[in-house]
């Protein structure tokens, strides 16, 4: 393939509503919907699917995103064995199992991929949504993979990071899909009990039941430039209320103005930014005692020290009780 120059037209109109599906050109070339620059596939990938001319953020698959975010492109999937079923035997214009099969043919196995990885040096669990799989819709598998990933973060004692890109609940699973909202909330409560941070990145688009559940409860919440973030999409609002909405309605930059996100961050800067945050939040490591007796003696608790000498096999749990450092249990808070 001959090397064509990248056409550069500077049109940095921030907050213009992006076109969700950019034009497909012959071959793997892509055209930026905002500035009309054209890129070859390898150029797109090298720039993490961000327009080199105008910084427009293209949609990106969950597995690609994990490759870009993880240190060394190295990540271990969690919950990859989970697959959808068809509990309602749902048929709209097409049977639900057919929709699943054609989505799977594009390479992913569900609308979320969860993994353990390192982000700029910090170990964490990440749950990354994939708009390319049935609009990133949240069905039972998304809920269960999210829950398994959160369980894993709690078991390992490491932070939980999510990148959302979803049209909301998966219609084809009916009310069972709706319940996944509550299920993700349960996972957040468990992360809270374990004292672990929950970091949210909102990518285009984050709407409906995903925005109205875990995506709006990040301890710290970043958004990608130009991402649409809303409970009800602009079209639904215009149809219901006959309001004419401004072009930049619900976009990340507006959500920052209205106080619903903490920062708008370029995709290429996310790993460093999240890594820095997780480093700030890291608790100092607990000193490992050489022996119970010396540690207890250093703390000046004579009775406890003599107990420890008498019981060399004293369990960590019992020691914590003696030292008055009871571990936090769920239910200690209301």
């Amino acid at each position: 393939m001959s090397r064509r120059p990248i056409s550069v037209s500077i049109d940095r109109l921030r907050g213009r509503r992006p076109v969700p599906s950019p034009a497909k050109l012959p071959g793997d070339d892509r055209e930026c919907p905002r500035c009309k620059s054209r890129f070859r596939a390898d150029e797109m990938r090298r720039n993490q699917f961000v327009c080199a001319a105008c910084d427009h953020h293209f949609p990106i698959g969950a597995r690609d995103r994990l490759d870009f975010m993880a240190d060394g492109g190295d990540w271990t999937e969690i919950g990859g064995e989970l697959r959808a079923t068809d509990p309602l035997r749902f048929v709209d214009l097409q049977p639900y199992p057919d929709r699943i099969r054609s989505a799977e043919a594009k390479g992913n196995t569900e609308a979320i991929v969860c993994a353990e990885l390192r982000l700029a040096g910090q170990a964490c669990v990440a749950a990354i949504m994939d708009f390319g799989f049935l609009g990133g819709s949240m069905g039972s598998v998304v809920g269960e993979r999210f829950a398994k990933a959160a369980d894993h973060a709690v078991a390992r004692g490491i932070p939980f990071v999510t990148v959302t890109s979803s049209g909301g609940a998966r219609m084809q699973e009916g009310v069972l899909a709706l319940m996944q909202m509550a299920k993700t909330i349960v996972s957040l409560d468990e992360l809270a009990d374990a004292g672990l941070p929950f970091v949210c990145v909102l990518a285009h688009p984050t709407t409906g039941g995903v925005w109205a559940s875990f995506a709006s409860l990040g301890d710290v919440t970043y958004a990608e430039p130009g991402a649409l973030i809303a409970f009800s999409g602009p079209r639904v609002i215009e149809q219901t209320t006959r309001e004419k909405l401004p072009e930049d309605f619900g976009l990340a930059e507006q959500q920052l103005v209205h106080g619903h996100v903490d920062a708008v961050v370029d995709r290429r800067e996310l790993p460093a930014r999240i890594g820095r945050l997780l480093a700030i939040l890291q608790q100092p490591p607990k000193a490992q005692p050489q022996s119970l007796a010396t540690q207890l003696a250093q703390n000046g608790t004579d009775r406890a020290a003599s107990m420890a000498r008498a019981l060399p096999q004293l369990s960590k749990k019992l020691m914590d009780r003696v030292m008055g450092e009871q571990p936090r249990r769920p239910g200690d808070r209301w």
Binding site: E81, A84, V175, L176, A177, M179, A182, G209, S232, H258
Partner: protein, 305 residues
């Protein structure tokens, strides 16, 4: 789903309804009944179940949302907090109540009450009846999504027993915001769905006129929700439906509510919270590939990238 305990009369209702369901015709009828304008709304139940009731107003931030009523009342000799979505009966009242579609202020008013319920360990009863949270530009700017999410989290953490009752139509996250309870029950002619049939028709069939078709695809009846584990019980309505007899409907709900609150009250707080979490952790339908084939498929997907 494990076996469910429950009074025999509830089972009878489920069986009767399940039988007619198999023949396929009653879904649309159920939706019409769930939306019947003469059905009892939260204030109708409250007036009958707790004559001493103090309603609270406002979220202390933006204003008061009439689509949600919230307050504390005396119920069988004890304080109980109640939050419900309120629709109007005539044109003027319907507009005042915003057709039962809450704004963020409504959910935040509810959360004010949850704070009281948490502080005093008062049980919470929610009465769900909404076509969904209000889709408006202002609602979005004032944090509709976050209000719904926070309401769910707060409900999940309450110490005292919680019961959510779907009394009419429960649609979308706007309904679930009040639905994260120890027990979720549905009245015989109520519905619970991810979206209203009209909304689904517009999105999935690209034709708002296909609502009846959408309703049959979603099958959001009480009997089906019971079968899927979404509802823990179905509370019967008077013959002819709740809209024909408000007193009778309130009596039947009272029977279930008072017994269930007593039952739940016997559990210690950490145990109740653990069971509540587990209840929602379980919901869904998925399958697991055998470990080796999952690994193979993941590798295949990686290679395809």
């Amino acid at each position: 789903m494990g076996p469910r305990r429950g009074p025999r009369f509830v089972r009878r209702v489920v069986d009767r309804f399940a039988h007619s369901e198999q023949e396929g015709g009653d879904v649309w009828e159920a939706i019409q009944l769930a939306r019947h304008q003469d059905r009892p709304y939260p204030l109708d139940y409250i007036a009958r179940l707790m004559p001493d009731f103090e309603e609270i107003h406002g979220d202390r931030l933006e204003g008061d949302d009439a689509a949600i009523v919230a307050g504390v009342g005396r119920y069988h000799g004890r304080p109980v907090a109640v939050i419900g979505q309120q629709k109007g009966r005539d044109a003027q009242d319907r507009a005042f109540r915003n057709f039962g579609m809450p704004n963020p202020e409504g959910y935040r008013k509810g959360m004010r009450l949850m704070e009281l319920a948490a502080k005093m360990e008062i049980p919470l009863v929610t009465l769900i009846d909404t076509p969904g949270a209000f889709p408006g530009a202002g609602a979005e700017e004032r944090g509709q999504g976050g209000a719904i999410a926070r309401s769910m989290l707060m409900m999940l953490r309450l110490p005292a027993p919680t019961v959510a009752v779907v009394i009419g139509e429960g649609s979308s996250g706007g309904a679930l915001a009040l639905g994260v309870a120890d027990r979720v029950v549905m009245l015989e002619n109520s519905t619970y769905s991810v979206i209203s049939p009209e909304g689904a028709a517009a999105i999935l069939w690209r034709d708002a006129g296909k609502a009846k078709l959408a309703a049959q695809a979603f099958k959001p009846t009480a009997a089906n929700c019971y079968r899927w584990g979404i509802a823990d019980a179905v509370v019967p309505e008077p013959d002819g439906g709740a809209h024909t007899d408000h007193d009778g409907a309130a009596r039947l709900l009272d029977g279930y509510l008072s017994r269930t609150l007593r039952e739940l009250g016997a559990l210690p707080v950490p145990e109740r919270r653990r069971l509540r979490r587990e209840r929602f952790r379980r919901l869904g339908a998925h399958r697991e590939l055998p470990p080796d084939s999952a690994a193979l498929m993941a590798q295949g997907a990686d290679r395809a990238d």
